[in-house]
Amino acid sequence: MTALLLREIRLGVRAGGGALTGALFFLAVVSAIPFAVGPDTNLLARLGPAVLWIGALLAGLLGLDRLFQADREDGSLDLMIVARDTHMLVATVFVKCVAHWLVALLPLVVAAPVFGLLMNMNAIAIGAATLTLLVGTPAIAFVGAAGAAVAVALPRGGLLVSVLVLPIAIPVLIFGVSASYAAVNEPDPFLPPFLILAALTLFMAVIGPLAAAVALRYAAD
């Protein structure tokens, strides 16, 4: 399983892996917002956490369709399914999700503080948004795996994956943004939405790979 993790990370960072595509898309979304909203710095600061979260969510959905499709096209997926007695398919999917998060989503979390400055957010808001992204983005990877597995046989399933995954990812967005806001708006408590966000991630970490494994098992033809 370590071998699988290393392979996925290598593939992600090598040429054509598309690890940076998400980060660049994130940059494009966040840097376009101030131009659209105008020079009202207070308004920007208020929008900040929401924009960071929407940017990260969309960027996270971007590379999902290739999660299993690349392996299916070159036959690796067949071998992973044949090997299901030594490595449970759920575990294989889980490791692939973790690798996808490390390569495609962790860079977004790392870049978030910098992009927060573009949105004129103060230090506490930036810290809270980054923390919620760190805790919430794994959920996107796990839900995304289920969507990617369902659409694995479709040659241009990219948009379909996003449409399938987005509704399930909305709670993550809601609690991520509300926790970020609660950190700066005094009367609102930070901890409850943050803990629900963490619970969502843990819940998705179980449900996502399980659903993806079932979908992959029956998508083989």
Binding site: G75, I81, V82, R84, T86
Partner: protein, 237 residues
């Protein structure tokens, strides 16, 4: 001499294994492809599945590998003991595609499958040596020619131990010399107690292989005489 001993040890470990397929039917997308396939494969045995395009050779192999559900009949894997309890876990599947990433080097690709499959046999360097690809392990897989890619993929069978090899057109893209080398590798695998089911329309150079003829739409590849003969032979084990 050492080789003989090794083979003898393997034989005693793998000797009782058998794959019994009875009245197997396969379908794709609800369309029946073949019915009534029966054969018995014991250690050291090999079956070459032949037939025209679309006869269901690949479907048969995918059903055996557990990638497709059976539409009827049964597949039984017996005598694997604790090491090889299930059919899928005892199988190397070599499909049409090579299951290698073009962006990774040949050695990285092979090393990954070696670690992923476990049951280490040959090292990556040894395996590449055996398929005649020594010295190119550092090249990205995408740089290789079609034949070299196939050979690298064959090397995957050598890095981990699995008693049953399911080979789908294994020699497509190989030149004469490589075909001969691959035939020798298959003989070696059989000599150590392995089994092979190969779908092909090219002669593989396997001596003593049974032939299973699949004859086009709704194949009835009955193999009853062999089944009975092999069954009685297996009883003697």
């Amino acid at each position: 001499m050492l080789r003989c001993n090794e083979a003898a040890i393997r034989l005693s470990m793998w000797g009782a294994m058998q794959l019994a397929v009875v009245d197997l039917a396969g379908e794709r997308g609800g369309e029946p492809i073949f019915t009534g396939i029966s054969f018995l494969l014991v250690a050291h045995g090999s079956i070459v599945v032949t037939g025209p395009n679309g006869a269901g050779k690949s479907t048969l192999l995918r059903v055996l590998a557990g990638l497709l559900p059976t539409a009827g009949g049964s597949i039984a894997w017996e005598g694997g003991g604790e090491e090889w309890p299930t059919l899928a876990g005892s199988t190397h599947y070599l499909g049409h595609s090579n299951a290698m990433k073009p962006a990774l080097t040949v050695a990285e690709n092979l090393g990954f499958w070696r670690d992923f499959h476990g049951s280490h046999r040959a090292s990556v360097v040894e395996a590449l040596d055996k398929v005649g690809l020594s010295g190119i392990g550092h090249l990205p897989f995408g740089y290789l020619s079609t034949g070299q890619k196939r050979r690298a993929s064959i090397a995957r069978l050598l890095v981990s131990r699995r008693p049953l090899w399911l080979l789908d057109e294994p020699t497509s893209g190989l030149d004469r010399a490589s075909e001969a080398r691959f035939a020798a590798l298959m003989e070696e695998h059989l000599a150590s107690g392995g089994m092979i089911v190969a779908a092909t329309h090219l002669p593989l150079g396997l001596s003593g292989a049974k032939t299973l003829e699949m004859s086009g739409r709704r194949s009835h590849g009955s193999h009853r005489e062999d089944f009975d003969a092999l069954a009685s032979a297996a009883g003697g084990f």
